[in-house]
Structure formats: C-alpha cells, structure tokens
Subunit: 246 residues, 2 copies
DNA sequence: CAGTCTTTTTGAACCCGTTCAAAAAAATGC
DNA sequence: GCATTTTTTTGAACGGGTTCAAAAAGACTG
C-alpha cells in the first residue's frame, strides 16, 4: 500500500543538525501555508538541502505531519497544567482541558482535516487507533489519566479504571466535530463541549446507581475487551499486508 | 484546496456509453486491485479511452470512489430487505442490518480505509457529515428510519424521532472499528456488534425510566441541535473556502 | 596518512492525479 | 449539404510524492 519508509535515526552531529533544520523549516511552512501548499520540494529548497536529503530523514510527508501533531499536543499539555492544578471537580477539569484543546488546535483548523485524515488511515503509522505503540495516543490518554486521578469525583472503581480511555475517545469525537465546524469562532464546538461535559458529568453520577449496575458492568467489560485488542493484536496479523506485494 | 472539478453530465448517447464504460472498468479495477493500485491511467487504458477523457466524465478519482460506495450501499439495502420483513423486534432488526452491512463491505476491507479517509475530509463532497445534500447519508439514514419505524419497540416518542440518526452514527462507529479490525474473518467486529446491539437494546429500554428522563431530554435536545446545524449550516459559511482562492 | 566503511547528500527518474488547449466527431440550424 | 456550434476525445504538460544509485563527506582503523 503506502510505502512509508521509516525515518532513519541520525548517526552524526551533522546529521542531527540537518534533520532539525528540515523539521523546523517544515513546521514553519506548514503553519504559514497549510498542508497542500507545503511541498517536500519547497521544504527542501527553503532549508537549503536536496529533496532526497529530506526523504533521508523523514520517510514521508506524513512523518512531518506527525511532528507537527506532537508539537500541538505538547502545547496543549502545557496549557492544561494550570487548570489541572486549580480545579478539583471532574467536571471543571474536563471542561477546561477540552476547551483548551480546541484553543490550541484552532490556528490549524484549515488543515486539521488532512491531519485527521492521515491519522485515520489504518495503514498509517500515525494512526492512534491502530498501533498501540503510537506515542501519540499514550501521551494523549495519559493526560486524561491525570485528569481523572486528580479529581475527587465519586465514581465506581471499575469505571474509574476505564474512564481515561473513554474520555480520550470522547475527545477524539469532539475533534472530529470541530474539524467540520464552520461556525464563527467555532462557537458550535464550544457549545457542544459545554453541553456534553455537563451530560457526561451527570452520566457518571448516575453510573453509581444500582439500577444501572448491570448495564455499566456489561459496557465496561466490552470496553476493556476492545482496549486489550487494541494494545495486543497489532503485532501478529496487521503486518501481513506489508509483505504481501508481488 | 482540492480542485475536485464536477463531473459533467453527458449530452449524447455516445457520451453516455463512454461514461458507463469508464465507470464499470473503474469499479472492476477497484475491486480487483484496491485503491492505490487502481490508477486513472490504468482505468483509461483498460477502457480504451484517453486519460483526459476519463477526467471529462469524472472530475476526480474520488468521484469514482463515490460510485463504488453507492454500489455497496445498494447491495446492503437489498440484502437487508428480507430481514426487515421477517424480524419484528428492534434488537433483531438492528442486529441483522449491522451484520449484513459488514458482510457487504467485507470484500473491500483492504481499501475501505481510503474510502473512509476521503469521506472524512471536510472539503470532500463525499463527506457524509458535512454536506447535507449528500445523498449517501440521506439514503443511509433512511435505512435506519425504516428499521425503527417497522419495529414495535416501546420507545419514548422524543427518542424515537432521533433514533434513526443515532443509529446511523452508531453504524459509522462500527465501520470505523471494522476498518481497523485485523482479526480473522473480522470476528471481533461481529462480536462487537452482538454486544453493542444488546447494550443498545437495554439502554433504549432504560431510557423510558423516569430516573433517566432529565438526562434523556437533555441529550436529545443536544442531538437535535447538532442535526439541525448539520442540515442547514453548510450553505452559508462552508462554501467560502471555495471562492476564497487568489 | 591511506584505505575502508558509514553516513550524508545529491539529482535524476518514475509514477501519479490533474489541467488545458486544441483536434476530431457529432449535433444543429438554415 | 454546408457552416456553425457543441460535445467528445486526445495528448502533452505540470507539479507533486517517492525511490534509488551513486557521489561526496566523515568517521574509523591500522
């Protein structure tokens, strides 16, 4: 399918330097001109290296995108810290984190679609759903672990374990909505966040209710299963397609 | 962004014929060799027309994909009919329809990812989330309308109205999972369907419970809002990007 | 320092999707 | 039937991502 050569690790200081140069140039161009307008040739030229050289360090354009994604994620982490230190209730914490996520992403709205696109391709190494190892996801889920751990909400233990992952999923859904949101200043997305956070908070409270226990148990068992699949499966069968060319 | 010229309507019988020829050839190749291996050049050559000619009738490769998608949808509709005529309970109906969906899609698993990808791009006319007019979505939701209408499940009226759309969303989620499912014979996806359908059925029953009424009301109000956005918004603001080139 | 092995760098080449002006063929009007 | 207009068809060209063999530059060894 998609060749997607691995990006080589650098072996000398010179290489290190070149790689960094290419990366920063790429990020710059991506920020200034968006995805389509940023070409590998353009990056190479602006960085003063040859096209082939860029490909030596970054196996594909997607790898550059990944770097970009990483950066916004780190920005979001940094932006979230104050709120997580101040707020105590689960609801307030979640609300802050989600709103800050959108704040962070906002400057890149116009090409976020493409970003999401490449990330949704099952064959892409960037796909947060497929590859368990994907540091993107691990880091991302970790934020929600902190979010839950630091709150003193009354939530059943079994749910508490799964909650970070569930919130991560929820947050992916919000991003998907945001990508398609064309309202001014993304008002709709923010409203959606406000309302869904409120709803989620209510639901989590309800989840302790004995009436809901069987459903909760069943649902959580299912979630757990899926998560296990996600973190184990990939190594055995997923790679077969790669070698199956002729 | 993506130029995506519109596919011209044909004006003569000769043109009609050529267009059909190109389409069938394309579907054939897509089926046999997947997305990446099917090139516009390849299609044109196999169909015995020039490359430019193919582009005259189909503005882009995506348009061909759209045709492909349409076909599988129709297959699914046809396959679902018997079950919808036989089954009475909502649960059984949903289970059948979902399983048949996966059955229908299965032959195209390897390139379904790409299909989903192009569909997730906000700029793509194929995107079922963005363009209300997208017949793909209308048709698709319609199936779930029939599914709900034909069942005699006891479900609150307000929920009943939104249920088809919610089930459509649910079905999109399952497809997303399926795309990433590498288990043999897609066993995991089928199991997921079994369990989630069961769960949904239980949830729908619970939804009538007075305890849940406030949450239900709130959630449905939210869903309704989003749906309205979806079906109206697109005309005013979404198109600006199109004309905003320089 | 000379020779060898690695890493970095290059630039040409390949294939692909897409565009476009102009040729060929059909349809239309008189 | 001929001129004009419309539709269909062509093929070359452009710009883009990606690959690759081989040159250049460095690192390492004796």
């Amino acid at each position: 399918m998609k060749p997607a050569k691995k990006s080589k690790t650098t072996k000398t200081p010179k290489g290190e330097q070149t790689k960094a140069l290419i990366l920063t140039t790429a990020l710059e161009m991506l920020h200034e001109r968006g995805y389509e307008q940023t070409t590998m040739r353009g990056i190479a030229e602006k960085a003063g290296v040859s096209l082939g050289n860029a490909y030596h360090y970054f196996g594909s354009k997607d790898h550059l995108i990944q770097a970009f994604y990483h950066r916004t994620h780190e920005d979001h982490l940094r932006a979230s810290r104050p709120a997580l230190e101040k707020e105590a209730s689960l609801k307030a914490r979640l609300l802050s984190v989600m709103r800050l996520k959108i704040d962070t992403l906002e400057p890149y709205h116009e090409f976020a679609g493409v970003l999401f696109q490449t990330a949704a391709d099952p064959h892409s190494p960037l796909n947060p759903f497929a590859h368990a190892a994907a540091p993107v996801r691990r880091d991302s889920v970790k934020l929600f672990e902190d979010l839950v751990a630091g709150s003193k909400a009354r939530v059943p233990d079994d749910l508490r374990t799964e909650l970070p992952y569930l919130l991560w999923l929820y947050h992916m859904g919000i991003i998907l909505f945001w990508i398609h949101d064309t309202s001014r200043k993304r008002a709709r997305t923010y409203r959606l966040i406000d309302q869904t956070v409120d709803l989620l908070d209510k639901l989590i409270s309800l989840a302790s209710n004995p009436l809901l226990r069987p459903v909760r148990k069943k649902a959580l068992k299912l979630v757990l299963e899926l998560r296990e699949d996600l973190t184990s499966e990939t190594s055995d069968e997923a790679q077969q397609t790669e070698s199956g060319d002729e």
